[in-house]
């Protein structure tokens, strides 16, 4: 979707909001209450989707923010606050509570995160039921009977519109791209310099839900623990977002409309089992429609509806094959001679020492080959340098500064770029978006449009020009490795850690790759550590070879020296090589 279309979507939403604002002046009170319900659930479902769909954290306690908001509003309002003050308080207090709770929560991922958030609902239920002096316990709070439906309705229209605009802004922005990279692989995103900010999004989403809770509580003029924190009601907005199509601009809207009307029909014809019915929808969506209605094959075949189901991907005018010049600044001549230093780095997994006392100094502009048998600790060393692992003891210094206490994104900003042996691309993004995210992760990120254009250069450099706007999931394993390199380069590293890129390449491709490595050093001044099993490739370009065996450095020197080393021949080339002449 281009920016123009985003503007058009906001325009359509604005006209719709204005029209909806006039509904109370001509429609029946039943219609007004239905529209109110649609607006409320849209706001809740969509604000949930920022965290659940875009960021990929399944937050099952989103409804609790609505409940806390309603309670804060009710308590403030019954104590004489103006309704706008009470609403502001509702969103503020809820934001603070959620910000605090999210500190422990975001130490969890996947189902664990989902589970811990779900457990918050009974916690708030217990609090609301038992803090009687504040919440009036299970009896609930009755707000003064006033004619507020008109104002509350307008406020809800405004909030729903705000939610829609925020969504379009999140989706089409560098911020949105970064958020989606976290969804696809949080650790890889951090390693390319992305400052992870799940908490910020969760707080924004909570503030919106709390405001909705305040408005709706005022509108209902009664709240109690069951309607605010009940398990069966709490999951309804989530079911709506997922039923429609998570992370699609129109997905939550479709889900809300379908489920609200289905529920009205149900209320009219069935007296029991409403909760079971919702449970069944949730279960069936999980079992058969992982992507929601809009992504189902049936809907995709209907032309008009399929327009709503369009996945969002960033593009730009620049494409095709650009070969010349990468946006990389060679380091200034005044910089320190030692680029990277490992001082007695050890890493233990339980009782197993993966690295013991590894000391290594790499000078600026050097290309160092790191070899050793499988399991000798090569990748572990990379992981210790890029802070995927905490070192057990020892220190890593970049440009003389210790990086051992830094976050992963700070390590990237310090100048460490890396590839992964098993590629960790952002699966649901395009090749261009993958590289753009790395450009945006720089400490001085370019403008968004520039980043999208610039990404094309890096993509073409590694030979993926034909796949620029293809989804990563369509790439072969080898092409993903090339993408790894492009992404690592786009972070503008001073030191590049390459973890087995050549295995699987044809001889011609290997030569090309070796030429690239040489060019990266000669032209852009990069310092490179290269882990590789294809020794003939390594031998063409390295200044020095470091050999690891069982977590220890057993040799460190130029090719000739290391090759004739007896220990190396025994450990790496096999005992037989030790008997024959050195190559």
């Amino acid at each position: 979707m281009t920016f123009l279309q985003e503007k058009r979507a906001i325009g359509i939403a604005f006209i719709a909001a204005v029209l909806i604002a006039f509904v109370p002046s001509f429609a029946t009170s039943y219609t007004v209450s239905m529209v109110m319900l649609l607006l409320l659930f849209y706001t809740l479902a969509q604000s949930w989707d920022w965290v659940g769909g875009e960021l990929g954290y399944v937050n099952l306690s989103h409804y609790a923010s609505y409940g806390i908001g309603a309670y804060v509003f009710a308590i403030a309002y019954t104590n004489g606050a103006h309704f706008l003050v009470a609403l502001a308080l509702a969103s503020l207090v809820t934001s603070v509570i959620i910000a605090l709770i999210s500190i422990p929560l975001f130490r969890l991922q996947g189902e664990y995160f989902a589970f811990a958030t779900l457990a918050l609902l009974p916690l708030f239920d217990i609090l609301a039921s038992n803090l009687k002096s504040l919440t009036n316990g299970t009896e609930g709070i009755i707000l003064p009977a006033e004619q507020v439906t008109g104002i509350a309705f307008l406020l809800m229209v405004g909030l729903a519109f705000l939610t829609f605009v925020t969504t379009t802004l999140i989706v089409h922005s560098p911020f949105g791209l970064v958020v989606r990279s976290i969804r696809d692989d949080e650790e890889a995103a951090e390693s390319i310099g992305v400052r992870v900010l799940p908490r910020k999004i969760m707080v924004i989403s909570a503030a919106i839900a709390a405001t909705a809770g305040g408005i709706h509580g005022w509108y209902l003029s009664f709240i109690d623990p069951g309607t605010m924190f009940g398990l069966d009601v709490a999951l309804v907005p989530i079911a709506m977002a997922l039923l429609g199509g998570s992370a699609l601009l129109w997905g939550p809207i479709v889900g809300v409309i379908v489920l609200v009307f289905l529920n009205q029909w149900l209320l009219a014809y069935f007296s029991i089992l409403h909760a079971a019915f919702y449970g069944l929808i949730i279960l069936l969506v999980g079992r058969y429609l992982p992507g929601g209605l809009l992504r189902s094959s049936l809907v995709r075949r209907i032309k008009f509806v399929s327009l709503l189901a369009k996945e969002h991907h960033e593009r730009s005018s620049v494409s095709g094959n650009i070969v010349e010049g990468l946006d990389l600044t060679p380091p200034a001549s005044g910089e320190q001679d030692v680029a990277l230093e490992c001082r007695s780095v050890s890493k233990n997994f339980g009782g197993n020492a993966a690295l013991s006392d590894v000391s290594l100094t790499v000078r600026r502009g050097e290309i160092v080959g790191l070899i050793g048998a499988n399991g000798s600790g090569k990748t572990t060393l990379f992981n210790c340098i890029s802070r995927i692992y905490d070192v057990s003891s020892g220190e890593v210094l970049v440009d003389g500064q210790p990086i051992t206490g830094l976050r992963k994104d700070e390590v990237a900003h310090a100048g460490i770029g890396r590839t992964y042996q098993i590629p960790r691309s952002f699966e649901r993004m395009t090749v261009r978006e993958n590289v753009t995210t790395a450009l945006l992760g720089r400490s001085d990120p370019p403008r968004f449009e520039d980043a999208l254009n610039e990404a094309a250069r890096f993509v073409c450099y590694v030979g993926l020009g034909h796949h620029l706007d293809d989804s990563v999931s369509t790439l072969s394993a080898q092409k993903r490795k090339s993408l790894e390199l492009a992404r690592a380069l786009a972070t503008s590293p001073k030191i590049l850690l390459i973890d087995e890129v050549a295995s699987g390449l044809t001889p011609t491709e290997i030569d090309q790759f070796v030429a690239h490595i040489r060019e990266l050093r000669d032209r852009y001044g990069l310092t490179i550590i290269w882990v590789e099993h294809i020794f003939s490739a390594l031998a063409q370009v390295v200044d020095r070879v470091v050999v690891l065996e069982q977590g220890k450095v057993i040799a460190n020197g130029t090719l000739d020296v290391v090759l004739t080393d007896e220990a190396v021949q025994r450990s790496y080339f096999g005992a037989k090589a030790a008997e024959t002449e050195p190559c």
């Binding site: 990929g56 399944v58 099952l60 709770i101 500190i103 422990p104 929560l105 130490r107 969890l108 991922q109 996947g110 189902e111 664990y112 989902a114 589970f115 811990a116 779900l118 457990a119 918050l120 009974p122 916690l123 217990i126 609090l127 039921s129 038992n130 969804r183 696809d184 398990l231 069966d232 999951l235 997922l242 998570s246 029991i272 089992l273 409403h274 909760a275 079971a276 919702y278 449970g279 069944l280 929808i281 949730i282 279960l283 069936l284 969506v285 999980g286 079992r287 992982p290 992507g291 699966e427």
Partner: protein, 296 residues
């Protein structure tokens, strides 16, 4: 008096806590085995327990069946339920990409939890049920222990030891542990990961069936009291470690005792909040707790 702890009361609270904690540990172990092997965090775990507890109470009240018979009927029933549930609803999700698999299992088990609770309430009524056994009481000093309590404690211990031996000694047990450690490797050795997962889910469901019968002997259960138990079981495996039997047992006992003390010295209505507060506090103080999670 309020300032000096009475040792009789302390001992009584400790024993009550251990009884409750033993049951928690058994429930948690069912959840833990399922999560460790099948990779499924079963949100409906406690709700299945509540359903079985209510079935047990009904069988006991209306048919006057002896407890042993009820156990003999409901444990296999739990097994079959678990097997079918996994085969029909969860197994097909394994083919999806990780993120969708997570969302899929969360939705399916959360959906099941709502359906089971609601349907049980409609069929059996929403009221509390409990099996009241007449029992002899033993007095040791000022501490009173009932024969039923001792019986439950023995049954919990026997179930956990039996499960441990099964996992360690039998071929099925070995294949379960193998799949827990490495799905593909286990498959190469002839342990069918899909069937093993279903088997584990079924075993987890039968453990929860045993726990359900034992639980309803001491504590009242209604169709909606299952979810708080799931939350507790989850807290316990987070503290004790996934698939770690001794860790689960210790964490379970700890939670049971903590709840007993909070209920007595503060107020009973705050006891259910303990587990989630322990989890949040634990994560805050020891970020390493989160490392017990499965790698994606």
């Amino acid at each position: 008096m309020a300032y000096l702890p009475d040792f009789g009361i302390l001992a009584q609270l400790l024993i009550n806590g251990i009884l409750l904690g033993g049951l928690y540990a058994l429930i948690a172990f069912g959840l833990s085995v399922i999560y460790g092997v099948a990779g499924i965090l079963n949100f409906a775990h406690g709700t299945i327990l509540a359903m079985i507890s209510i079935a047990a109470a009904i069988l006991f009240e209306s048919l006057r069946l002896p407890l042993a018979v009820i156990l003999l009927v409901l444990t296999p029933a739990g097994f079959v339920f678990g097997w079918v549930f996994h085969k029909v609803l969860l197994s097909p999700l394994q083919a999806r990409e990780p993120h969708q698999r997570t969302i899929g299992t969360v939705l399916v088990t959360v959906g099941a939890l709502i359906i089971i609770g609601d349907v049980t309430a409609v069929l059996a009524g929403a009221e509390q049920r409990v099996i009241r056994l007449s029992s002899t009481f033993f007095e040791i000093g000022s501490v009173i222990v009932s024969g039923t309590q001792i019986g439950i404690l023995v049954a919990v211990s026997v179930s956990m030891i039996a499960l441990h031996l099964f996992l360690v000694m039998s071929w099925t047990g070995s294949s379960i542990r193998a799949v827990a450690q490495n799905r593909i490797g286990a498959a190469l050795c002839g342990a069918d990961a899909s069937n093993t997962s279903a088997m584990t889910f079924a075993i987890g469901a039968s453990i929860v069936a045993i726990a359900g019968v034992l639980y309803v002997i001491s504590y009242p259960v209604n169709p909606y009291s299952g979810f708080p138990l799931t939350v507790k079981a989850f807290s316990i495996i987070l503290l004790g470690g996934v698939g770690n039997l001794p860790g689960t047992l210790i964490a379970g006992l700890f939670l049971g005792v903590a709840e007993a003390f909070v209920a007595f010295y503060w107020a009973p209505q705050w006891a259910p909040a303990i587990s989630i507060i322990i989890v949040l506090g634990g994560l805050l103080l020891f970020p390493g707790l989160a490392r017990t999670r499965r790698a994606a």
